[in-house]
């Protein structure tokens, strides 16, 4: 039987606020255990939550960027369950009236097709603390620093049809929240993670199969692996006569499997009800318009502009707009280079990206600034250096040896463009290689490259390649 995969993602993204969603404690990552858990975060008797204005603004930003409805009225509910990292015995979340709902996001698939994925809702909630399982005499340690960190939970429609699509969607959301400056998207620190609801059904069948929820997957490659493993498991199970049960599962990358979560075995009854310590959040058109005015140019718009304004290919524009930092960098290079869009794209996607990858470095931390790279590209454009020499200049810049001009000057890399000088060198090369001239003139035209190489070698690559070509041809063919 042919099977179709159905996936819906719930992405949890921490919002990049200074303080927590309901308290004035810091959200900085990596502090000593429980030093950033204030009375409210600990759920001490008598404490009360007060909502952080910034999380409302950030959620609205996300809503506007995904063509969603930003709710004029939203309500916080309590989700009741017991777990040691959940101090109050309930999580403050939004169930019936989320702040954002009914939007969509277009994702680009590998075959060049664009697919629209519905966003059911995005709601605000508080993050839980962390359980540290390394043994304290057989006990678990609880750190509540993370408790109360604001989360936006983004729930997609079950419209993703493969692990690849799921990853493409997740990457797009990841890029978007960073564009919007509402999350640092740091997956190592758990700022961006997802739950995947996975089911399979025979192709052509309308109703969904029973789904399993894979919890807390924290990187893109794991999402793909976990979904593929789960799909395989479900198909094998059904084909061997079994049935899928609705349950929560955990992905274990070491054992390369998903398995049921022990702690979530029982069906939970969360007893949701509106949190009586909080009042309905009401926002008006002025608020929404003010947020709209702070929206940056969004990835899709920016991509289209890169194509039309800088003459880039669709593919290049897509790569350069995948992250806001890279796109910003690229545009700064274009400006510094005096408007060399295509050349800038080649360099940012080529040498720069390669160097960043090799040293595992983020574009924002690049030792070669956009201005410096742009200045170097100007030297290519005005003929001061060749593209080949430029690579040598770039490497020196990367190693902190100075600006392009300084390096060109110090290392004497300026291109030789004086025709008589080049002609002198060519004559010398020809004089030293009479045999090759004979062969060339006898029809072995590919030896032309040999002569170019000899000339470049003699000039340490500094001769203007265009002039070398012209003069060489003239002298050889005369």
């Amino acid at each position: 039987m042919e099977w179709e995969t159905v996936i819906g993602l719930e992405i949890h993204t921490q919002l990049a606020t200074t303080s927590k969603i309901f308290s004035g404690a810091s959200t900085t990552y990596g502090a000593e255990p429980n030093t950033q858990a204030c009375a409210v975060d600990l759920g001490l008797p008598g404490v009360l939550p007060v909502l952080n204005a910034e999380v409302v603004r950030m959620a609205a930003k996300f809503g506007l960027a995904t063509h969603s409805t930003v709710a004029k009225r939203s309500v916080f509910d309590r989700k009741n369950y017991f777990y040691p990292d959940l101090p109050k015995g309930y999580q403050i979340s939004q169930l019936a009236l989320p702040i954002v709902h009914d939007g969509y996001l277009d994702i680009d698939l590998e075959d060049g097709v664009t697919k629209r994925i519905g966003i059911t809702r995005a709601h605000l909630e508080e993050d839980a603390g962390k359980s540290l399982h390394e043994s304290f005499q057989g006990m678990t340690g609880i750190d509540l620093n993370r408790a109360g960190t604001p989360l936006l939970e983004i729930v997609s429609e079950p419209e993703l049809r493969s692990a690849r699509e799921a990853v493409a969607y997740m990457r797009k959301i990841h890029s978007l929240v960073r564009y919007l400056d509402i999350s640092d998207g740091n997956m190592q620190e758990g700022s961006f993670r997802c739950d995947a609801n996975v089911s399979v059904r025979p192709i052509g069948q309308e109703e969904f199969g029973t789904r399993a929820e894979i919890k807390n997957i924290s990187c893109f490659s794991f999402v793909e692996q976990a979904i593929n493993l789960e799909v395989e498991r479900q198909i094998m199970l059904i084909e061997s006569g079994g049935t899928v049960v609705q349950e929560t599962r955990l992905f274990d990358p070491d054992k390369h499997e998903t398995r049921p979560m022990r702690s979530k075995e029982e069906a939970n009854d969360y007893r949701y009800f509106p949190d009586p310590d909080l009042l309905p959040v009401e926002i008006d058109d002025d608020f929404i318009e003010a947020v709209r005015n702070t929206l940056p140019e969004l990835p899709d718009t920016r991509k289209a502009r890169f194509v039309s304004e800088h003459g880039l290919s669709d593919y290049d524009a897509g790569v350069l707009t995948a992250s806001r930092e890279l796109a910003d960098y690229f545009e700064a290079v274009v400006e510094a280079s005096g408007g060399q869009g295509k050349l800038s794209a080649n360099w940012v996607m080529g040498e720069l990206s390669g160097a960043l990858n090799k040293s595992d470095c983020e574009v924002k931390d690049s030792p070669v600034t956009a201005a410096a790279l742009g200045a170097m590209l100007q030297r290519i454009e005005d003929g001061t250096i060749s593209g080949k020499i430029a690579k040598q200049v770039f490497e020196a810049m990367w190693n902190g040896e100075g600006s392009a001009d300084e390096i060109i000057e110090q290392q004497g890399l300026k291109q030789i463009s004086d025709s008589s000088a080049i002609e002198g060198i060519i004559r010398e090369v020809l004089d030293n290689n009479p045999k090759q001239i004979e062969q060339y003139r006898g029809g072995q035209e590919k030896l032309f490259g040999f002569f170019v190489g000899q000339v470049m070698k003699a000039t340490q690559g500094k001769a203007n390649p265009k002039q070398v070509n012209e003069l060489l041809r003239k002298l050889l063919d005369s």
Binding site: S19, E32, A39, M139, I142, P276
Partner: protein, 119 residues
Amino acid sequence: MSFIIDCATFAPLFLTRSTDYGVTMALDASEIKKIAHLARLGINADDIPEYSRNLSDILAFVEQLNVVDTTGVEPLAHPLEATQRLRVDAVTETNNRDNFQQVAPEIESGLYLVPQVIE
């Protein structure tokens, strides 16, 4: 004169007991156990019949609510129906761990300890 308010004397204005109201609403032992588990509340097996009776009484009593027609009535979650005030995003709290952990039953290296959690 007696100070006792026998709830039956409130009838008919204040319907009170399941017997007054004619509703049989009973929670059996297994339901009591289920709810107790949901609330992580240890209760003695011996006390279950009494809980069962008390809870059934209370639920029968609140069944009176169903007499009134609330079609089209919005629930009232808060008396004043105000809206949420928003706090400026600023850090106002400093590390107060030592003070807070003085009342903690079991800690180590700044962590609260609980019996091993298995995921």
